[in-house]
C-alpha cells in the first residue's frame, strides 16, 4: 500500500514536473513566436478598367431656312476610368454633311446632302466646329475619374439654307452617324 502510494506520489511529482516543463516550454515557444515575426508582403495590381455611358440618337426636328441654326440638347457622355482617358468624336461622312436616308439606309446613288456640315462643341466650349470623318478630340489628358465618373456634354448644331432641298418623300430624312470613342491614353 505504502509502495503504491509512493509510486502514485512519484507519478504526481513527475506530472507536476512535466507541467512546469510544459509551462516553461510554452513560455519559450511563446517567446520564440513574439521574436520571430514573419513579414509577408502582400502585393497586387489593379487592372485598368473603362466604362462609358453614351447618349442615344438625336432628332433635330425641322430645320427652317433663314431661321437660326437648330441646336440639340446637350448629349452627355459619362466616363469612369481608373487611368487617364480621352473622348473622341467623328462622323461616318468625311465632310460632316447629313445625307439622304431612306429610313433603313443612305440613298444610293446620288443622295441629296445638306450644304453645311453638322457642327459640334463641348457644352462649356466656345466655338462650334464642323464634324468630320477624322477623329476629333472632345477631351484629352483627363485624370482618373474615381467612382463618381466624369460627364462631358456635347452640343450639335445644324443650319439650313436654300441650297438644302426639301425631301419629297415623307419617309426620307437627312441623317449622319456620330461615333463617340472612349479610350484610355498611352
Amino acid at each position: 500500500m505504502k509502495r503504491a502510494m509512493k509510486g502514485r506520489r512519484a507519478l504526481v511529482v513527475s506530472s507536476g514536473a512535466m507541467m512546469v516543463l510544459c509551462v516553461l516550454a510554452g513560455t519559450c515557444f511563446t517567446g520564440a513566436q513574439t521574436r520571430d515575426q514573419a513579414v509577408v508582403p502582400v502585393t497586387c495590381r489593379v487592372v485598368a478598367a473603362l466604362e462609358a455611358t453614351f447618349p442615344g440618337a438625336v432628332t433635330l426636328g425641322n430645320l427652317n431656312v433663314g431661321a437660326p441654326p437648330v441646336t440639340s440638347a446637350p448629349q452627355s457622355v459619362t466616363v469612369r476610368s481608373n487611368a487617364p482617358w480621352a473622348l473622341n468624336i467623328k462622323s461616318d461622312a468625311q465632310d460632316g454633311r447629313l445625307r439622304q436616308w431612306t429610313g433603313t439606309a443612305y440613298l444610293t446613288p446620288n443622295p441629296k446632302m445638306l450644304s453645311s456640315p453638322l457642327e459640334w462643341k463641348r457644352q462649356d466650349g466656345a466655338e462650334f466646329v464642323a464634324i468630320s470623318g477624322n477623329e476629333a478630340t472632345v477631351v484629352s489628358n483627363m485624370p482618373p475619374t474615381g467612382s463618381a465618373g466624369t460627364t462631358v456634354s456635347i452640343v450639335f448644331r445644324q443650319s439650313a439654307s436654300y441650297d438644302d432641298e426639301a425631301l419629297p418623300d415623307p419617309g426620307h430624312t437627312y441623317r449622319i452617324e456620330v461615333t463617340y470613342t472612349a479610350t484610355q491614353t498611352y
Binding site: 487592372v47 485598368a48 478598367a49 473603362l50 466604362e51 462609358a52 455611358t53 453614351f54 447618349p55 442615344g56 440618337a57 438625336v58 432628332t59 433635330l60 426636328g61 425641322n62 437648330v70 441646336t71 440639340s72 440638347a73 448629349q75 476610368s81 487611368a83 487617364p84 480621352a86 473622341n88 461616318d92 447629313l98 436616308w101 429610313g103 433603313t104 453638322l118 477623329e135 478630340t137 484629352s140 489628358n141 450639335f156 430624312t173 437627312y174 441623317r175 449622319i176 452617324e177 456620330v178 461615333t179 463617340y180 470613342t181 472612349a182 479610350t183 484610355q184 491614353t185 498611352y186
Partner: protein, 407 residues
Amino acid sequence: MFRTSLSFALAMMVLFAVAAPSGSALSAGISIRVSPASIVAAVQDGDTIGPIIVANPGDSAIDIEGCVQQGGHDEGGIPVCRPYGNPSAEGVFVTLDPAEFRLSPGASRAVRAKVHVTPGFSGGAYPVILFRGSPATRSSGHQLGASSQVAVLTLLTVTPRRQGVRAEAKPVLVSVGVAQDTSKAAIKVFATCENKGNLHADLGGVVVMRQQDGKVAAEAVMPTGVCLPGYRRTLIGSVAGTCIGSGAYVAEVRVQSSGREVESALVAFRVDDGNRIASTHLDLGASRRDRLPSSGPNTPRVAKVSVPAVSSGWNLPVEVCLENPNTSDLDPIGYVEIWDYQMRRVGLVALGGARVAPGDPAVIRLIWPEPLPPGYYTARATLQWGNQQKSASTAFVVGESAVRHKG
C-alpha cells in the same frame, strides 16, 4: 388658393419649356465597360491575350461588335486608330472570339483575343480593340445616329528569335520648349521625342532649372508616357510661377526611357519682372545644324568665349563676346556649359546680360561658381535667339595649383 395653383402650374410650364431640348428629341443611350482597358504582353504566334471582360452596366440590352484597328497616337498620347488595310499582311494581327454578341442589362462576356504573328516579325505591335455598342432594339428614324465604342489598347512585344535582330526603343529628343501656362500661373517645359526604334518606349523625365549662379531654382518631374515606334510624344514638366523670380534661366530637360536617361537638352528663358516669359520652341535638329558656322550673316552669335588657358580652377573667369549684326536690339539669353575631357558636362549656368544694340559687340563676364579639379576642359557658350541657338567653345586646363589652393 386657386391663384397659388395657377402660379405653380405656370412656373412648371416655364420650367419644362426651358428644360426641353430646342427642337431635338433623344433616344436612350447605352453603357459599355471593358476590363482590362489596356494590355501589355510578350507574345508569340498563336498566343491568346485577355480575356477582356465586356459588360453592360446599363439598363437596356445592347449588341456588341468587336473590331481591331492599328494603334497610334498624337503627341499628347491620345490614341489615333486606323483600319488595317490587309490585316494578314501586318506583322501582328489579332482576332476576337466572340467578335459579336448581345449583352442583356447587367450581363458580361469574356472575349479572347488570339494573336497571329507573321513569320520573321519581331518588335512591337499595337492593335487597338474597339467594342462598338448599339441598342439591341435600334431606331433608324433619327437624324443624328449615335455609335458608341470603347477601346482596349494593347502593347504587344514579339521577341526576336534570330541573332542580330533586336527589339528596342530608340527615343530621340527632337524639340524642347518653354511656355507660360497662364491659367495655372506656371511655367511649362516641353520635350518632344520621336521613337525611331521598333518597340514602344516608356518615357519619363525631369526638368532642372538653373539660375545665372548655377544654383538649382526649381525641379519638375515629367509624367511618364508611352511613345510608339514611328510616333512622337511630348512630355510636359510644370513649375509653379511662384518658384521662379525674374532673371535668366536655363532648363535642362533629361528624358528617360524605362527609367534610364537617354537624352538631354537645354533651353534658356528669361522671366521678366511681371513673372512673364516668352514662349520658346527649339527644333533640336535645326539648332544642331545652326551651330555650324554657316548660319546667316545677320544673325546674332557668340563671337568668342574666353577662359584662361591655364588656371587654378578657382574663381574661373569666363568671358562671352556677343555680336549683334541684326537691325534690332538683342536681349541676350543663353547658357555656359563646362565639359570635362570625357565629354561629361560638369557645370552649367544661365547666361543673361544687358540689351545689346545693333552693330555693337558686347561682353558678358562671369565667375564660374564652382571650383574645378585639375584636368582638361571645354567651355561652351550658347546664345539663344528667337528659336535658334548659336554656340562657341574654347578649351582650357586646370592645373595642380587648384589642389594646392584647396589644401
